[in-house]
C-alpha cells in the first residue's frame, strides 16, 4: 500500500510499487484526464504536479510517489472556479482536440511558477520542448500560457 495525497486528499494506493504512476492514476484511481500520448516520455500528455512541480507521470514509478502530493488536471479547479491557467486555455483558444491539453496546462503552471507573471513568448515556447501538440500549431497555447501566468501573478 502506497500512501500519497491526490488532489488534496490523503489516500493509500493498492497497486504494485513498480507500476507507472500514469497507469495507477488512469486505471486504479480513475483520473483519466491524465493522458498517454507516447511511450518514450516525449509528449508530456501525462504531466501531473508532484509536490508542486510538473513531472511526466509515465516516468514515475508508484514507489517514487510515496508520500508525495500529486495534483492532476482534475484537481486544479478550486471551489468550482477554474485555475487561471485552465481559464486562459479556454479564453485564448489554446486547445483543439484537448488530448495534450491537461499536460499543457500543467506545463504552463510550471512555466509560470519558474518565470513569473511576465514570462515572454520565446521563453514559453522554449520551455514547452517537452510537450507535443498536433492540432493547434502552438500559437494559441503560448498565448494561453502567457495569459495564465499573468493571471496567476495577479492572484486571479
Amino acid at each position: 500500500m502506497t500512501p500519497m495525497t491526490l488532489n488534496g486528499t490523503p489516500i493509500t494506493v493498492d497497486a504494485a510499487p513498480t507500476e507507472l504512476l500514469v497507469n495507477v492514476l488512469r486505471d486504479d484511481l480513475g483520473k483519466t484526464g491524465t493522458h498517454i500520448g507516447c511511450d518514450t516520455s516525449q509528449c508530456g500528455a501525462c504531466n501531473v504536479l508532484m509536490n508542486g512541480e510538473p513531472v511526466k507521470s509515465c516516468t514515475i514509478l508508484l514507489a517514487q510517489a510515496e508520500g508525495a502530493a500529486i495534483t492532476t488536471v482534475e484537481g486544479l479547479a478550486e471551489g468550482g472556479k477554474l485555475h487561471p491557467m485552465q481559464a486562459a486555455f479556454k479564453e485564448e483558444h489554446g486547445l483543439q482536440c484537448g488530448f495534450c491539453t491537461p499536460g499543457m496546462i500543467i506545463a504552463g503552471i510550471g512555466i509560470a511558477e519558474r518565470h513569473g507573471a511576465g514570462v515572454d513568448d520565446a521563453t514559453i515556447a522554449h520551455e514547452l520542448e517537452g510537450n507535443l501538440c498536433r492540432c493547434t500549431g502552438y500559437v494559441n497555447i503560448v498565448k494561453a500560457i502567457r495569459k495564465g501566468a499573468a493571471d496567476m501573478g495577479a492572484g486571479a
Binding site: 483519466t32 518514450t40 483543439q96 482536440c97 488530448f99 520542448e129 498536433r134 492540432c135 500549431g137 494559441n140
Partner: protein
C-alpha cells in the same frame, strides 16, 4: 448569450477538456473489460510457415490467442476506390500467408490485464521465411524486385491519367521555356496525439435476439464507418452494430478508416462474452496508422516568352504501401490529381499517376489528401519557372491566375472553379506580408551572418467533395435544442460552430444548443468529417433543420395566437395583435412535436474551392543548418467564416503540419523495410519553438454560392499552403538550389556550405 455566424464565442466543449472530464476512447473501461494486443510482424516481407500460440495461450490471464484461421469468415478492410487493377490488394484483420510490412498483424492476444496480454504476445512464436523487402518505389519498379502481390504482374498496381496528352505535347513543342522538376513528397505519419483505441462489446440478446455489437472508437464519423465495419468486415447487419465515438484526440484523415483491431476486438468480445479493449502504443501508431504522401513526381511547366503558362505535365509514382487502403489509391488521383494546375489559366494539362505496392505501411488520406501534394507541385514549378526566366515570383502568378471575369472556369480535368477573386487575394497577401520591406529584413539578417529568403504559394483546394449530403436531427427537450449532425469533431470545435449556426437561426442562446455527434443510436446517417466538409454541408443541414423546426412551431403559434404569425429572433408574433409566443415556449407546450430530421444536398452536387496565399520568410544559419520561419502571412478565401477564432486555429495547426512535412517529418524505412522512425525519439514533429508564433491570418471571403452559409471549408488549407511556401522560401534562401522535403538541418547545412548531399540510407 446571443452569438451568431461570424462571431467568435469561446468553445462550448472546452470546459470538460480543460478539467480532465473529456472522454476519449481509452477512458471508457466497462466492467469486466479485457485487453487485446496485436502480435506484429518484425519483417517487412515474409512468408508465414507456421504460428505456435500454445505457449502464449498457457500464460497467466490469457483468455484467447487468435490467428488468421480463427477469423477467416470475416471480410477484409475494403478498398473503396475503383482503381484496384488486377489484384484486390485488401488488408485482412490478421494475415496468415505472408506479411507485407513491418507491423502487419499475425495474431491477437486477449488477457485479463494489459500487462498479461503484452507478455503473452511476446510468447507467440511465428515461423517466418523472409522474402526480399520491397522498401521503396524505385526498388518496387525494378524488374527483378520481389512482388508484394504475387498475383499481380508487377508492383505497379494501376495507371491513371487525366487531361489531354496530345494538347500538352503540342503546348510543350511551342514553349519558349520549359521548367522541369523532380519532386519528392516524403512519407509522413499522421501522429494524432491520441493513439487509436477500440472497445468491443457483444450483447447476445440485442437486435431482437440476433445479437448486437457495441463498438467504441475515435472515428471521424460513426454512420459512415458502420456499413464497412458491420457488413463488409463483421458480416452483420448495420442494425446489429452501434458505434460510439466520444472525444477524439486528433484524426487528420487517418481516423476515418477501419483498422484490423476494430474487427478483432469485436470478434473477441463475441467469442469471449466480455468487453475487449485494444489501445495502441505510440509504436503501433507509427507502424500501422495509415501514412500520408509518399510519392515522387516528374513535373514540367511550359511557358511562352511572356511568362504565360502554355502547358503542364506531371507523372507521379504514388506509394500505396503493402495493401490498398480504403481510399489509398484515390488520394493522388481522384482527390488530388485533378487540381494539379491550381487556379492558373493553363490551356493543356496532362497528369499521370502510377500506384505502386511496396512493403511499407499502407498510405491514405492525411490532412489535405492529395491537394497539398498537387499544390506543392504547381507552386514549386511556378517559383522555379520565375527564377529560371528572371521573373518576379508574384508577377508570374499575377499573370497566370484566373480573373473573376473568367469564372466559372473548367480546368480541363473536370473541375469547375466557381467563384473567387484570386488576383485580389494575391495582392492582399503581398501587402499584408510587407513584400516591399523584404530587402530591409534580409539585409538585417545577413548582417548577422544569416541567409534569408522568401517564398509564396497560391493554393486552391477541392473541399467538401466526396459526399455533399449531410443530415441533422433536432429534438427540443427541457429547454435545450439537441442537434445531431452526421459529422464528427476531432478537435475542430463543431459543438460551438454548429451551435452558432442553429442558435442564430432559431434566435436562442448559444448555450441552449447542444450538438450531439458520435452515436449511431442517435443518428445513423451522415458522411463524417473529412475533406473540409463539415461546416459546408453539416452546417447547411443544421440550418435546414432549424428552418424546419421554425416551420413546425409556426403552426402551433398560429393556432395559439389565432392567425398569421411572423418569426423573428426566437419569437412568433401575430400580425394583427402583436401578441407573441416564444419558440421554446411552444416547444415546451408541445413536447416532441417540433422534432425534425433534415438533410442538405446542394442543387449542383460539387465541391467548394477555398483558396489562399501563404508567404513565408525564412532565416537559415549556414553554419548549423538551423532554420527559423521568421515571418509568416496567410490570406485565405474560405467564403463565410462561422467562427473566425476556430478558423484561425485550424489554419495555425495546418501550417504546423505543413511545416513539419517541409523541414523535419519523414517516415524512413531502411533497405530491409525496417521502420527506422518508430517513436518520437526518431520522428520529429514541430514543437512550440519551431513555429512562427507571430504568423498572421486574414480573410478575403467570396462566399460559396452552393450552400446557404456561403462556407467553403477551412480544415486542410493551412497544410496545403505551408509546404510549398516554406520550401520556396528555402530554395530562395539557398540561391535557387533544389532541395526536397524534409529539408532537415543536415541537408540545409550541406547546401549552404556547397557540400555534396549524403546518399539517403534507403
Amino acid at each position: 448569450m446571443k452569438f451568431g455566424v461570424g462571431q467568435s464565442p469561446k468553445r462550448l466543449e472546452d470546459e470538460r477538456l480543460i478539467t480532465g472530464a473529456g472522454r476519449f476512447t481509452d477512458d471508457y473501461q466497462p466492467d469486466g473489460c479485457t485487453f487485446g494486443v496485436t502480435v506484429r510482424s518484425p519483417y517487412a516481407h515474409a512468408r508465414i510457415l507456421g504460428i505456435d500460440v500454445s505457449e502464449a495461450r498457457a500464460m497467466p490471464g490469457v483468455l484467447a490467442v487468435y490467428t488468421a484461421d480463427d477469423i477467416a469468415d470475416y471480410g477484409r478492410i475494403p478498398c473503396l476506390v475503383p482503381l484496384s487493377g488486377p489484384v484486390k490488394a485488401e488488408r485482412p484483420l490478421l494475415t496468415g500467408d505472408k506479411v507485407r510490412f513491418v507491423g502487419d498483424g499475425v495474431a491477437f492476444v486477449v488477457a485479463e490485464t494489459r500487462e498479461q496480454a503484452r507478455f503473452a504476445a511476446e510468447a507467440v512464436n511465428v515461423d517466418y521465411e523472409e522474402i526480399e523487402a520491397v522498401h521503396s518505389i524505385d526498388r518496387a519498379l525494378e524488374n527483378d524486385a520481389a512482388r508484394v502481390w504475387e498475383e499481380a504482374e508487377s508492383n505497379k498496381l494501376f495507371d491513371w491519367q487525366v487531361g489531354d496528352s496530345q494538347a500538352a505535347d503540342e503546348a510543350f513543342a511551342n514553349a519558349a521555356h520549359v521548367t522541369t522538376l523532380r519532386l519528392v513528397q516524403n512519407r509522413v505519419a499522421p501522429t494524432s496525439m491520441e493513439v487509436r483505441s477500440a472497445v468491443g462489446q457483444w450483447d447476445a440478446a440485442g437486435a431482437d435476439g440476433k445479437g448486437a455489437f457495441l463498438f467504441h472508437t475515435g472515428s471521424q464519423g460513426v454512420a459512415n464507418m458502420r456499413p464497412h465495419l458491420a457488413k463488409t468486415i463483421m458480416k452483420v447487419e448495420p442494425e446489429q452494430m452501434r458505434i460510439v465515438t466520444g472525444d477524439v484526440g486528433g484524426g487528420f484523415g487517418m481516423k476515418s478508416f477501419c483498422y484490423p483491431e476494430y474487427g478483432l476486438v469485436l470478434h473477441a468480445a463475441r467469442a469471449l462474452g466480455r468487453p475487449v479493449k485494444w489501445t495502441g502504443e505510440r509504436g503501433d501508431a507509427f507502424q500501422t496508422d495509415l501514412h500520408g504522401r509518399a510519392m515522387v513526381t516528374d513535373a514540367q511547366l511550359a511557358l511562352d516568352d511572356k511568362g504565360m503558362i502554355l502547358g503542364l505535365k506531371a507523372e507521379t509514382w504514388s506509394d500505396l504501401g503493402g495493401y490498398q487502403s480504403q481510399y489509398g489509391p484515390a488520394i493522388q488521383t481522384f482527390a488530388g490529381g485533378r487540381i494539379i494546375g491550381g487556379v492558373y489559366r493553363i490551356p493543356a494539362i496532362h497528369n499521370v499517376v502510377h500506384g505502386v505496392a511496396t512493403n511499407t505501411a499502407p498510405t491514405d488520406a492525411y490532412r489535405g489528401a492529395g491537394r497539398p501534394e498537387a499544390a506543392y507541385i504547381i507552386e514549386r514549378l511556378m517559383e522555379a519557372a520565375a527564377r529560371e526566366t528572371g521573373m518576379d515570383v508574384i508577377d508570374i502568378r499575377r499573370r497566370n491566375l484566373l480573373r473573376p471575369d473568367e469564372l466559372p472556369h473548367e480546368n480541363g480535368l473536370g473541375l469547375n472553379f466557381d467563384v473567387g477573386n484570386y488576383p485580389a487575394l494575391l495582392n492582399a497577401a503581398v501587402k499584408r506580408a510587407d513584400w516591399a520591406g523584404f530587402d530591409v529584413r534580409r539585409a538585417e539578417a545577413e548582417a548577422r551572418g544569416m541567409r534569408y529568403g522568401r517564398g509564396a504559394a497560391f493554393y486552391v483546394e477541392i473541399a467538401g467533395g466526396g459526399s455533399t449530403e449531410e443530415f441533422a436531427d433536432v429534438k427540443i427537450r427541457g429547454g435545450k435544442v439537441h442537434a445531431a449532425i452526421g459529422t464528427q469533431s476531432n478537435g475542430q470545435g463543431h459543438e460551438t460552430a454548429y451551435a452558432q449556426v442553429i442558435a442564430e437561426k432559431l434566435g436562442i442562446d448559444l448555450e441552449d444548443v447542444i450538438i450531439e455527434q458520435g452515436d449511431t443510436d442517435r443518428l445513423d446517417v451522415g458522411n463524417g468529417t473529412g475533406g473540409s466538409r463539415s461546416m459546408v454541408w453539416g452546417g447547411a443541414a443544421g440550418l435546414e433543420a432549424a428552418a424546419d423546426v421554425i416551420a413546425k412551431g409556426r403552426i402551433f403559434a398560429a393556432q395559439d395566437l389565432g392567425g398569421e404569425v411572423d418569426f423573428d429572433a426566437g419569437v412568433y408574433r401575430a400580425r394583427g395583435t402583436n401578441e407573441t409566443r416564444g419558440l421554446m415556449e411552444i416547444a415546451a407546450a408541445h413536447p416532441g412535436e417540433l422534432d425534425v430530421r433534415a438533410s442538405y444536398k446542394p442543387e449542383n452536387p460539387g465541391p467548394t474551392y477555398p483558396n489562399g496565399c501563404h508567404i513565408a520568410e525564412v532565416e537559415l544559419n549556414p553554419d548549423t543548418g538551423i532554420l527559423s520561419v521568421s515571418k509568416y502571412t496567410v490570406v485565405d478565401d474560405f467564403g463565410t467564416l462561422v467562427n473566425p477564432m476556430l478558423v484561425e486555429g485550424q489554419v495555425q495547426g495546418g501550417v504546423a503540419q505543413g511545416l513539419g512535412q517541409a523541414v523535419m517529418e519523414d517516415v524512413v524505412y531502411d533497405e530491409n523495410g525496417q521502420l527506422l522512425t518508430g517513436s518520437f525519439m526518431d520522428y520529429g514533429i514541430p514543437r512550440a519553438d519551431d513555429m512562427p508564433l507571430g504568423m498572421t491570418f486574414d480573410t478575403e471571403p467570396v462566399p460559396n454560392p452552393n450552400n446557404p452559409l456561403g462556407a467553403k471549408g477551412c480544415g486542410e488549407a493551412g497544410t496545403i499552403g505551408a509546404m510549398p511556401s516554406i520550401m520556396n522560401a528555402l530554395v530562395d534562401c539557398l540561391g535557387g538550389q533544389h532541395v526536397d522535403m524534409p529539408a532537415t538541418p543536415e541537408k540545409l547545412w550541406r547546401l549552404a556550405q556547397g557540400l555534396e548531399m549524403r546518399q539517403a540510407a534507403a
